[in-house]
Symmetry: C2
Subunit: 459 residues, 2 copies
């Protein structure tokens, strides 16, 4: 398991209940990006009679997946069977809120946890012989510098969580039934906050450009190959890019989806992790200029440093103005982000012209289910472009089921699902949140392929 990769839990089999996406435009004034959220998985349930449960609509400063959103019946495919769903609904809601509060708490605990790690080392040094303390004097100075960088990271983290926090407080305060004790946060939760900062490095800084060229550019080039801009601009063309719907499941901090939209496609990113969603909301909606903020992504990476330059290095973000997209986004359809579980949010068949996945398919307990879902939601003649390794997220889990087919096996699954494999490349060198100054170097030799959903079923 790659330490830097946030584990995202997702169900192993698709559910055909009425849990589907609910889209709301972002009402935030700072940015007019159509940054929208679906409800979180299992947040809504239908009653036993199959009627939809309407919830209190609270449209405030910004809509959020955990707010009580009006259920969108356009996407409700089927009713759930079984009894006691009103109870289930309340339990699920509490679970969701507990999860939400836990992530908020993880962000808020970052400074304390990080400081404690540093202070523990400083205390330990105090117990060492005088000669060792003297020898460690420069190291001690570095530890003090780390404390300063943590404090600066904390300022960014506060901005990231500012809205998310207040979003949730209103419904919570309105209903005492849902009051939940402050969740317990572990070092592993807080570590994911640091990982989120590394993801900002990858997606939204000048320094991360090498990773984006390796991981995103091949996908963008393939889109250009499949849907040439020259054709899109012709007056007698059968299509224009803005009519083509591209979905990016596992969108993370949204840069790939943003780049696809920048090429002129209508693009929707989908993400499950609240760590990613809080941060992408901040970047896409609250950063209306370049190089506004500074973070220290590697400040807690104490191993394998030649000098303290390595762990005290800072990056500024964003490298581009995310609101630039507005200029080519007049119809409000071109770029959006949707929160929720990929398998549950997308229930409509034959909807997408293209699905682009990058470092995503190995997040599945069962990769077959992801591949089948992608096939289902693609229009006939639509394309699936994939790039990434096979670092299966649940391979070491003792709690969740997992299978880990090799790439040769994955290709059989792809064909079995009905896809036609058009092109494949292996051994594509791709970095993932690599500190270039670290003595530990890690990269994946990724696979990169394009499949087509045939226009008519093959015999």
């Amino acid at each position: 398991m790659l330490a830097d990769k946030t584990k995202i839990s997702s169900p192993s089999t698709p559910k055909s209940d009425c849990e589907s996406k609910v889209k709301f435009k972002d009402s935030n004034k700072m940015s007019s990006n159509s940054y929208v959220y679906a409800k979180h998985k299992r947040f809504f349930r239908c009653s036993t009679e199959g009627k939809q449960v309407d919830e209190l609509v609270t449209l405030e400063h910004q809509l959020w997946c955990f707010q009580f959103l009006k259920f969108n019946d356009n996407h409700c495919n089927s009713a759930m069977a079984g009894e006691g769903n009103n109870y289930d609904q309340r339990v699920d809601t509490e679970e969701e809120r507990e999860h939400f509060l836990k992530i908020i708490q993880a962000f808020k605990s970052y400074k304390t946890f990080a400081n404690n790690l540093v202070l523990r080392r400083l205390s330990y040094i105090e117990t060492l012989p005088e000669t060792q303390q003297t020898a460690l004097s420069r190291y001690k100075t570095s530890l003090q510098e780390i404390l300063k960088c943590v404090a600066l990271n904390h300022q960014i983290i506060e901005m990231i969580t500012e809205d998310a926090d207040s979003m949730f407080e209103n419904p919570l305060n309105h209903s005492n039934n849902f009051r939940i004790p402050r969740p317990k946060v572990t070092l592993s939760d807080v570590d994911k906050v640091q990982v989120t900062l590394k993801q900002i490095y990858r997606d939204w800084t000048d320094d991360g450009v090498i990773e984006r060229i390796q991981c995103y550019q091949p996908i963008l080039d393939e889109l250009e190959e499949l849907f040439p801009s020259s054709l899109s601009e012709q007056k007698n063309s059968k299509w224009s890019r803005s009519d083509l719907n591209v979905l990016v499941p596992g969108a993370g901090l949204g840069r790939l989806a943003f780049e696809i939209a920048t090429l002129g496609f209508s693009c929707e990113g989908n993400e499950f992790s609240l760590y990613m969603l809080f941060a992408s909301n901040f970047i896409l909606n609250k950063c209306p200029d370049v190089k506004l903020h500074k973070i220290y992504p590697w400040v807690m990476s104490c191993d394998n440093n030649l000098s303290s330059d390595s762990l005290l290095a800072s990056v500024v973000f964003p490298d581009v103005n995310p609101t630039n997209l507005n200029e080519i986004n007049s119809d409000g359809r071109r770029f959006s982000m949707v929160a929720g579980d990929f398998l549950e949010v997308y229930q409509k068949e034959n909807e997408w012209d293209c699905v682009a996945t990058c470092f995503f398919i190995d997040c599945a307990n069962n990769v077959c289910t992801f591949i089948e879902k992608i096939f289902t939601i693609l229009k006939p003649g639509g394309f699936w472009i994939n790039l990434g390794p096979l670092q299966y997220h649940f391979s070491n889990s003792t709690e969740e089921e997992s299978i880990e087919p090799t790439f040769e096996d994955v290709k059989l699954i792809i064909e079995s699902a009905g896809f036609k494999l058009l092109r494949e490349t292996t051994k594509l060198p791709t970095l993932y949140c690599q500190n270039r100054r670290s003595m530990l170097k890690q990269h994946y030799e990724s696979v990169f392929f394009t499949c087509e959903k045939p226009n008519s079923p093959s015999l």
Copy 2:
């Protein structure tokens, strides 16, 4: 933390009690290598009056660190203060045995644990839709192949533990006071058995030669530079290599120490981990020819495989006959292995002409202590050669103290200890148990340096 690296616990500060090394020649008939073991740390204690506690001597098929060895008073520096040491001694002995039995149990549990992981996946597949099961048919075949490879690994593991097990059974059976319930083994313990197989790949196979050239050859070249063979062979030379004592702390499976001895030096390897000690004992003493055995080092590495060739790959060992060394080892002094904690085993000052450490100094809770110990045990004019990263083993520990100085900080510690830094190289590419077929590529840009302990204290 590098997943493949066996964590070796070691105390953070040196102790000056009477715990010191006890050497016995290996009485094993299959090999005449002088493979010897010191007692395990804390195994022996002095009485409160400072008298040594003699223990039952049981010299059987092979001497082992956990046997009741006669205490060697040559190495007893000081008596322990405090009362109740007879009780402490029994408790310590039980702790040692519990640890020993746990490692034995981990080796013995390998097959069951590994099989269960595979069988769980096969059971999960049974629950999937028929179409998915069909798509996964080749993957299922690979899982069956994995079971076969695990069974073959198990055969080697049985050979590795055969002696170690019987060694311990005798004293255990002789004394019912020390009977200990079967220790509980976790997946993480068993994972270290698989890591041990990867170490065999690194140290004793043709395939591992690339890692040995990267990691060991620079050290061997430096020894040649410091003690040229041409000078050693001259009749009027002040020294011959066989008179020079080289110590390799953290010797692992012993290949570096073996290579140093092959160059003509008297070389002693020191190792703390029982996983390593059991395996090195098997290779050095029970493998009197080349390419005797086959293992599957990557069979449990289910992530990032292009095809099943990657995880089903086998290697044969040993690549050289470890008993070849006998021919140049007539005086019986040239090559030995000593078990125990580096900080506790080596108490004698000014003993070694050279200390060579490879992927070792980052095993310390406090690297200052390792560096000071190396300085202390070196003769004036002696050399310390080091190669490796700074992947500090306790950096993520919540239980043990840790500091993680950068290389710049480490150099200050080296100078503060009294060393003169002669040469340093950084960014030396070094692999560590890398499956070359894996899509995940990892290496360290290691540091490599040579220090001298000055002949007279600097002013």
